[in-house]
């Protein structure tokens, strides 16, 4: 009998939680923005930095009186869904967003999830901002996805070119984790390097996602003695260990990646060995950060105890959504209006010093404006912090 009571209590609790609707007791109307991404398990760092930067920004907006779109002032509410890096869950998440009446969603974080949610997003009129690079997501006939960052096939070539011209790099080796995203990025990187006239000395070595010790993996790569070692699509967790193993094996060339990294993680995991490591970041280095960026970092830190440098690149998607809606208030419920606005939209970039602009790009890569223009900031790690190596633009 006791057993049954327990189950009943549990079931009631579950049902109550499920039916309980989120009640916002604010004076302002509420504008819900969705997030579908991975916030648990091995890749949690990708999604959590994403989710937190959205939440930090939303809290900031709400604290300062809300966000004015047209004649209405809105409080921003972030609705997050953990897809556990499983494309099946990602679909469920996108359905959930449609259910909540949300038309603008940030995420998913990986290729398979971004591809899987496409039917749902298009059927329900949802614009989504994935952090995944496959071109088919952004090229016609697809029209609802907007690339939320700089793709590796855009940042890679400019990094390689810079290193060829300034560091005399002639040979390059690639290493990637054995799963979809990194392998696709590696193939893109190899093609770009070859097009630039670099000699690719090793591009076949891969490691399992769950590898914790990279010395055996890197040993054969080191034998080819490249000038540049590219860690394709490396996750923040693996980067410091790869760097450490490569340096301990006596590698003296340059190491780079095309994904965003966290300086704190690099400092803990590789220490001084990570000096000179090149990665792509947002505009939070002292040379570039506007006062607004600094305040964002401060608020994020206050809210979650610790900042994550990956958030530099992930602060933009929400800003783009809100700014575009401000430019075209009817787009709040009408994504076609949003799409039409994308072609001409332009606003100042509040996170960067100087006169950088927020606008949609991607004509070269996708044939339509389906990418946010974030500054392509290439950073180099030095003694616990990032320094800006150079800044470029994507068109």
């Amino acid at each position: 009998m006791q057993r049954r009571t327990l189950i009943k209590v549990a079931l009631t609790a579950v049902t109550l939680t499920a039916l309980q609707s989120t009640t916002a007791l604010a004076e302002n109307s509420v504008l819900k923005i969705g997030f579908v991404g991975v916030t648990s398990g091995p890749a949690a760092a990708w999604g959590i930095s994403n989710q937190r930067s959205m939440e930090a920004r939303a809290a900031w907006i709400n604290e300062t009186g809300g966000y004015k779109i047209g004649d209405t002032t809105y409080d921003i509410e972030i609705v997050s869904f953990d897809d556990q890096k499983d494309p099946k869950r990602a679909i469920a998440g996108m359905e959930k967003m449609a259910q909540e009446g949300i038309h603008y969603v940030v995420g998913p974080n990986v290729d398979d999830g971004a591809a899987a949610v496409r039917p749902v997003a298009e059927a329900n009129g949802i614009m989504y901002f994935p952090y995944a690079f496959p071109k088919s997501l952004y090229q016609a006939p697809a029209s609802n996805a907007v690339l939320g960052m700089v793709a590796n096939y855009q940042s890679g070539p400019s990094i390689y070119k810079h290193l060829m011209e300034n560091e005399g790099v002639k040979t390059v080796a690639f290493i990637a984790a054995n799963e979809s995203d990194p392998l696709s990025q590696r193939d893109g990187g190899v093609a770009a390097a070859k097009a630039l006239g670099l000699e690719v000395v090793s591009d076949t070595v891969t490691y399992q996602v769950d590898t914790t010790d990279f010395t055996p993996v890197l040993t054969p790569v080191m034998r080819s003695r490249p000038d540049l070692l590219v860690l394709s699509g490396v996750s923040p967790a693996n980067a410091p260990q790869l760097i450490r193993s490569a340096r301990e094996l006596g590698f003296e060339g340059i190491i780079s990646t095309e994904t965003a990294q966290d300086a704190g993680v690099l400092a803990e995991g590789a220490g001084d060995l990570a000096n000179g490591f090149i990665s792509v970041g947002g505009a939070s280095t002292p040379e570039l950060a506007s006062p607004m960026m600094n305040e964002f970092v401060q608020r994020y830190t206050d809210m979650f105890g610790e900042y994550n440098d990956e958030s530099n690149t992930k602060v933009y998607a929400l800003e783009y959504i809100l700014e575009t809606l401000k430019a075209k208030p009817s787009a709040i419920t009408d994504v076609e209006a949003f799409k039409a606005t994308m072609d001409t939209f332009e606003a100042p970039n509040p996170y960067m010093k100087g006169d950088a602009k927020l606008r949609y790009v991607g004509m070269t890569s996708f044939g339509q404006r389906r990418q946010v223009a974030v500054p392509l900031v290439v950073n180099v790690y030095q003694d616990g912090a990032f320094e800006t190596l150079f800044v470029a633009e994507v068109d």
Partner: protein
């Protein structure tokens, strides 16, 4: 060649330690502990917190890892595994419990320690470099030696102490052990705690080399399963051999097959399947474990 051997020994010794705890728990209670990897991760985080964050000496931090995990293991055995084993019609049901515990520990790790990759300062600096033919950082050598010492100490404990003898009796035949006056409940708990402690110890040791993040748990469990299968489930020496063999398979496979890239691990896994198909009880396991 020297490098491959060294990599193999290093990988093998750490793998063997991971597999030991798992196989001990399996031998005693026939439980395939899906949460073993998560226990390893917690061990890593505890050492990280004490040694990396609070500056406690490394050895003390290791002890803290062991103690924490031993307590967690004992509690899990006493309040979860023991009653479930008693109440279930088919003993495989414990797999669901183990998986549930793995989820729970994953959730706790995320809430307590966060999502970031963590690392601690190196315990020894410098790299041993023999003419670029054999390169091994000193801290790896130290950890490797410590791992081997721990394994030896563990075998000693199992062979010569009263607890060890009781545990072995329990693993061989539960009912007979009970008839001989072994307190089965108590020693099951001690055995589980010991297995969890080993996971914590190796987690604490390896955090100095590989760092630690919450995603390592599941993957570590699966690797540990494979080693246990290679050697033979529930056999201590089998776990050690399994660890060493998998370590060498990886070291050699990665070196020899590197030009085939994507299929290195595919070949490792396929050969593992073929090996198990030919020798279903592993190297030295009881048939039909």
């Amino acid at each position: 060649m020297e490098q491959i051997l060294a990599n193999g020994i290093y990988l093998g010794s750490q793998y063997a330690m991971i597999a030991l705890g798992l196989t001990l728990i399996f031998a005693l209670m026939n439980v395939l502990n899906f949460a073993h990897g998560q226990m390893y991760v917690i061990g890593g985080f505890v050492t990280y917190t004490f040694y990396g964050q609070w500056g406690v000496p490394f050895v003390l931090a290791l002890v803290m890892s062991c103690v924490t995990l031993a307590i967690i293991g004992a509690l899990i055995e006493k309040f979860l595994f023991a009653p479930v084993i008693k109440g279930s019609a088919r003993e495989e049901s414990t797999m669901l419990l183990a998986a549930g515990i793995a989820f729970l520990l994953d959730a706790l790790i995320l809430l307590i320690f966060g999502e970031k990759q963590r690392g601690v300062p190196k315990i020894v600096d410098g790299v041993f470099n023999y003419d670029f033919r054999l390169i091994m950082p000193y801290d790896r050598i130290l950890i490797c030696v410590l791992a081997i010492l721990s394994i030896v100490a563990f075998i000693g404990l199992m062979q010569y102490s009263k607890t060890g003898r009781a545990l072995r009796a329990l693993a061989q035949d539960r009912i007979a052990a009970q008839l001989m006056g072994v307190n089965v409940d108590r020693y099951s708990m001690i055995g589980f705690a010991l297995g969890a402690m080993l996971a914590g110890l190796v987690g604490g040791l390896l955090v100095t080399i590989t760092g630690v993040n919450l995603g390592m748990g599941g993957a570590t469990s699966i690797k540990a399963f494979m080693m246990v299968m290679i050697g033979g489930a529930g056999v201590i020496s089998g776990a050690i051999w399994g660890g060493i063999i998998l370590g060498f398979m990886e070291a050699i496979g990665l070196a020899v097959l590197s030009q085939y890239g994507d299929i290195t691990y595919l070949l490792i896994f396929v050969s593992l399947m073929i090996f198990l198909a030919i020798r279903p009880q592993g190297l030295m396991g009881k048939p039909w474990g």
